[in-house]
Structure formats: structure tokens, C-alpha cells
Amino acid sequence: MASNEGGQADGRPLAIDAHGLVKRFDGFTAVDGVDLQVPVGAVYGILGPNGAGKTTTLRMLLGIIDPDEGTRRILGAERPHDVAHAIGYLPEERGLYPAMKATEAIAFLGSLRGLPLKEGRKRAHELLERHGLGYAADRQIRQLSKGMAQQVQILGTLVHRPRLVIFDEPFSGLDALNQGKLEKMMRGLAEEGTTVIFSTHVIAHAERLCDDVAIIAGGKVPFAGPVDVARDRIRPQVRLETRAEDGPWRAALPADLRREGAFWNFSLPEAGVEPLLRALIEGDAGILSLSIERAGLHDAFVAIAGEAAARALEESPEQEQAR
């Protein structure tokens, strides 16, 4: 796919290149200097607790609202509406006309993005059939279940075959089966070269899908980068079982040591595993079992977002209480 996106990061062209985005509402700073660089073709997760500023950030990227400060380039365009035909968007609050039939709803969403209605109807039928919803093609939205209506809207988001798809909390409201289907669909889009961005506060989805994530907390981005790098922000966790209860070897264990039943849990010391093993053996700890686990994205998220929230509370307690 030819790319006319603007900017590059590590030699990769960027679908989104935003710097210093700020948005205030009635004196409340919802987003406070957000930087985002999303490479073309990536599956990019925007993670954050409720009220962190995820939706406001996405709305600024889409041009629904304008930032008070900062710049944004979406698919190379400074004005998002100039490339609206190449963008698909599923808002957090789903919305379709209740009296419209499923096919018409999908075609209408496509027509908003410049797809002729006739072609939109044709594609809508194909999409509904492909996703097992062919039987609902002529049903009104009001006759569909909430989950089905949401699937129809997701198909409407994709009917014009966008180069960039932005989903705001796409998994909420879907059952486990349909969550799985959506994950598969998102992977498929990325394989076709479509850039996929989604916001979520359920980290498991991001861990399974994303190459890169941005963690938003308190309107700021304390971390943006590859998932592996986020995980590496947390030291690997050691789980140790020893024969001896005490001894000189205890001095080699770090300060965050926690006892859970027969096990000692602690972060792997910065010096690494070898000095630790040496101390345990020489100190006659009697190692019964020892495992080292890499931190998950969830742990990384909790740590990063937690630190950021604590820092924000320190800097501006009123603002954070309001959030």
C-alpha cells in the first residue's frame, strides 16, 4: 500500500504523529501534553484507567474536537477530516439509527466516509455474510441484540476499507466469543497493512494484540513504546522456596521481599540472577525451587499508571481529585 503518511519513527512511516496535545474543559485539563507516534501497519493500544484522557485524545486525533495546544498529523494530514475517507472510527458510545436495517446502517456509515451507497450496500451484504450475520441483513437495528448491533457498527467502521482504524473501548459490551472474533479481525486488518489503534482498560487484549502501547494516566503519557519495553520497566519476579528459614543468604534478597506461604517473592536484583544464586548456595539456603517470571503488561501498566497518578496527585491534588 502506498504511503503518504507524515513523519517517521525509527525509519518507520507514521500513521499518527502527535506532539504536546492539550485539552482543557472548563479549567479542567483532560489531556496534558500527550505525544503519540503510531507507525503505519501497527496494532497500537492506548491503555489507561477510566477518566485518564483516552477518549479525549482519540477525539482530538479524529478532529471531533480541536486541541487547545499541540500538533497532530493523521495519515500525513494536519486536518483529520481531510483524510476522513481513509479512517474508520468506532466510538465508545455506540450509536446507530434504530429504524435502519443492518445493511443500510453499514452502507450509511460508509457513505459518510465517501463510499457510494450502492457499493456500500453490496459490501455490507458481503461483510454480514462473512461474519455470520447474513440473516440479520434486513432486520432493523432496534430488532438486534446489543452485541449484534455493535458488530454491525464495527462492520460499518470497516466497510470503506480504511487505512487507519480507531476503536474506542471496542471490547466492552461484547461476549467472550465475540471479543475473540474482534481480536482476530483486528489482527487480520493489521496483516493487510491497516493501522489499528484501540483504547482499552482491559490489559489482556492489548497484551495479545499490540506491538506498541501508550499508557495514559492523569492526562499524560508516562510510557509509549513496544510492549516488551513496558514489561521491562518492571523487574522480573523471583519465586523462591528454601529449606532454611534464615541465614546469611537473606542479606542477598532485596527490600521488596514478601513471604507467601512457603515461598519468598521478590524482584530480581539489578545485579542479575548469578550473584543471587551464589549467595543462596554459599549461604546454605537449601534451594527447593526457584522460578523467575518476566513481568506481564498488566503489572507494568499498574506500576506505570500508579506512579504517574501518584506523581500527578503530588503536583496538582485538586486536578487529580476532580479526575
Binding site: F25, D26, G27, F28, A30, N50, G51, A52, G53, T55, T56, R59, L62, G63, I64, I65, D66, A77, H81, D82, V83, A84, H85, A86, I87, Y89, P91, E92, E93, R94, G95, L96, Y97, P98, A99, M100, F108, L109, G110, S111, L112, R113, G114, L115, P116, E119, R123, H160, R161, R163, E318, Q321, A322, R323
Partner: protein
């Protein structure tokens, strides 16, 4: 900028107008084929039915009520002469001559208490006593003032005793006289203004409920993400304008039928200065302008309100202001050439009303071209302001108002 998709169909950036067309087409067809539109079409029928029923009941009440008459207490000769005179005058003067109710034929020298008769006998509004040469009319001040002339004419006719032949008048109606022309056109202008105002008020409110419904459906964010808000607003305005014009067309067709069936009973309006076809054309254009101007304000209100109750609260001041604007335009119409008229012509919200009235009174066409351009400019300005307000004030998410809540909580905690 455009993209060729895998099937070869091009999708490209929609212009503001093309995007507005997408919204307008959806709204127009959705509303036109809805049940609510059918009831909307029947809307004007209800006041007509209620009016007709009220008129019919009123007529029955009036018919059943006693017609107040003029009681007569005079000498027998005078009473007979008066009755004969009335019979001769009624064909020419009709209801202007009061009904005569003989109270008593007086003997010579007999007196009669008119006040007592008025208090006692029902159906008598006044009492005539005295003689034909010196009649005395007793009764309420306003009524006897009105009956003074007819009673005098009756007395003269009765005294003369001659049968006066009233000539048959040949009638030659003309559309207007030079003296009546201005007055007639003023009436036409007033009628046109009133019609324009009623239609605008009745139809502009529809935009409000449409947008509130849209926000309820949560579709507004999808629209705002895909196309500029200007397009959303324009699309909605023009869709509702289209629906309104369909409604007006239907009502006009029904009205024409009524006119054809009972035209002779409808009021005759003087020919407007620009002629009827042009005035009707201008009426349509000025309705569109008045509708778009008011609709754009209502749309902005609707976009910021979240519930129907909020809409009603917010739109009330606008409705009152619109009423004042209408009165302003009506007043300006009676002051041609004055500063007041100029102000009404320039002020965007009164301009369509004032210009339509001008069309009825002044044959010049160029001012209409300028006015329509001026009003269209204001439609664009108002829509853009509304769209900007929407973008800056409406699309907040999460704890956008948390600051206010915190203040409220702090205040509660302080108590």
C-alpha cells in the same frame, strides 16, 4: 485526495456540501417515511377542526339566544305606522333596523314607565316612547347611541306615510381604488407575514427534536468524526427544510382544493405590488431563509441540550425573541421609508418577514436579490457558530465536569 480500494471503487474526501447531502438524504427519507410525518401533515387539520366545531357551536348558541328588540309603547296609530315603516325599510337596510316589540298601545294621556319595562321584560334592549314627532329612546348608553339613527329614520318614514321606492343600485366592483390600494396591499402584506411566521414557528421546532433524538441515538459522534460539523448542521437543516416544503406543498394542495370548492366565501386580498406569482415565489424563498435562520439557532440549542426538557427550557427565550422579531417586522411594515423599516430589513431574523411585506407593497425586485444574499450569508455564519459551539462545548468525555462536581462536593463537605 482519494483512495482506490481493492474492488477499484474510489472513496474520496467529501466536500462540505457532499457530506451535508449524505446527512440530508438520510434525514429526509427517514422523516418522510415515518409515522410522525403523517401526523405532522395532519397537524394543521386539528386547529381547523377545532375552529370549525367552535364556530358551529357558537353559531348555534347565538341562534338560540333571544334577539334583543326595541320595545315600543306609543299611541296605537304611531305603533302601527312604525311597524309598517319597518316592513318597508328592512329589505333595504336589513339588520340595521331593530326588531320592534309592541309593549303597549297607549290611550291618549296615558303614561308609560320605560325603565320599569326594561327591568321587567326579557328580550328588550331599549324602549321607544313619546310620539313620532318627538320620540324618546330609553336604554343602555351604547345601544341607544347606535339605534338613534335607525329609529329616527323609522320615525320619519312612519310620519310621512308615503311608500318610498328605493332604487336598485347597480354594482360595478373593481380590484382596488387608488385610495384603497395601499390599504389593500398592507392587508396582503400582513397576511403574508402572518402566514410566514406561523409556518416558520411550526416547522423550525422540528429541527430541535431531530437533533436531540440524534444525541439520544449516540450517532452524533460517528457523524462528527466522519464529516465536519458544518456539514452535519447544513444537512439536518436542509433535510428539515425539504420535509417542511413537502408539508407546505401538501397543505397548499389541500388549501387550493378548499379554495376551489368554497372560494367565493374566502376573503379577497388585494393584488400585491410584485404580483401574486412573484409574491408566492418570494414567500417560498423567504420561508426557507426564515426557517434556516431560526433553525440554525434551534440546532445549536438542540446540539447542546441533552433532554427534551432541556431543549424546551433553552428554546423558550428564542421563541419569545422570535415573536418580538415578528412584531417588530409587522410594525416596520406600517412605517415605509423609516429607520424602523430599514432596521427590520437589515436585521437578519426580521429581514425575511419585512422583505415579504415589502414585496406586497413595492414592485422593485433588486432589493429582494440583495436581501436573500444577505440572509443566506447569515445562515452560513450562524451554522458555523453553532458547529463551533458544538465542537468546543459538547464533545466532552469522562470527567469533563468533574471540576464542578468537586466544587459542589467541597461545598457540601464545608456544610
Amino acid at each position: 485526495m482519494s483512495d482506490k480500494t481493492r474492488t477499484g471503487t474510489r472513496t474520496g474526501r467529501l466536500s462540505v456540501l457532499a457530506a451535508a447531502w449524505v446527512v440530508a438524504r438520510r434525514d429526509f427519507t427517514a422523516i418522510l417515511f415515518s409515522r410522525s410525518f403523517f401526523f405532522f401533515l395532519l397537524g394543521p387539520l386539528f386547529p381547523v377542526i377545532v375552529g370549525a366545531l367552535a364556530g358551529s357551536v357558537g353559531a348555534r348558541v347565538q341562534a338560540s339566544a333571544e334577539q334583543p328588540g326595541l320595545g315600543v309603547a306609543m299611541s296605537a296609530a304611531d305603533v302601527d305606522a312604525l311597524s309598517a315603516a319597518r316592513a318597508r325599510l328592512v329589505p333595504a337596510l336589513g339588520d340595521a333596523i331593530p326588531n320592534l316589540i309592541v309593549l303597549e298601545k297607549l290611550a291618549p294621556g296615558q303614561t308609560f314607565d320605560a325603565r320599569a319595562a326594561l327591568a321587567g321584560k326579557k328580550g328588550i334592549a331599549a324602549v321607544l316612547t313619546g310620539t313620532l314627532a318627538e320620540p324618546v329612546l330609553t336604554g343602555p348608553d351604547g345601544l341607544i347611541g347606535n339605534w338613534r339613527g335607525p329609529v329616527s329614520m323609522l320615525a320619519v318614514q312612519a310620519r310621512s306615510g308615503h311608500v318610498i321606492a328605493y332604487p336598485e343600485i347597480a354594482l360595478q366592483p373593481v380590484a382596488t381604488s387608488s385610495a384603497g390600494e395601499r390599504r389593500g396591499r398592507l392587508t396582503t402584506a400582513q397576511s403574508a407575514q402572518m402566514m410566514l411566521f406561523l409556518l416558520t414557528m411550526m416547522l423550525a421546532g422540528m429541527v430541535l427534536s431531530n437533533l436531540v433524538e440524534e444525541k439520544g441515538n449516540k450517532i452524533i459522534e460517528v457523524l462528527a468524526a466522519a464529516i465536519p460539523m458544518d456539514s452535519v448542521f447544513f444537512g439536518k437543516l436542509f433535510a428539515m427544510l425539504g420535509v417542511s416544503l413537502v408539508g407546505i406543498g401538501t397543505w397548499a394542495a389541500a388549501g387550493s382544493l378548499v379554495f376551489l370548492l368554497g372560494g367565493s366565501h374566502l376573503p379577497h386580498l388585494a393584488e400585491p405590488a410584485v404580483g401574486w406569482p412573484m409574491l408566492i415565489g418570494l414567500g417560498v424563498v423567504y420561508f426557507a431563509m426564515a426557517y434556516l435562520l431560526l433553525g440554525s439557532v434551534f440546532l445549536s440549542i438542540g446540539s447542546m441540550a441533552t433532554t427534551v426538557r432541556e431543549v424546551q427550557t433553552l428554546s423558550m427565550p428564542v421563541t419569545m425573541l422570535q415573536l418580538m422579531v415578528f412584531f417588530f417586522a409587522s410594525f416596520a411594515m406600517t412605517q415605509p421609508g423609516s429607520m424602523v423599516e430599514t432596521a427590520a430589513l437589515i436585521f437578519p431574523f426580521s429581514s425575511p418577514f419585512a422583505m415579504l411585506a415589502r414585496g406586497a407593497q413595492d414592485p422593485a425586485i433588486l432589493p429582494h436579490v440583495l436581501a436573500i444574499g444577505w440572509q443566506a450569508l447569515w445562515v452560513v455564519v450562524l451554522v458555523r457558530i453553532g458547529a463551533r459551539l458544538f465542537r468546543s462545548r459538547v464533545m466532552k468525555s469522562g470527567p469533563a465536569r468533574a471540576g464542578k462536581r468537586t466544587k459542589a462536593r467541597r461545598a457540601a463537605e464545608a456544610v
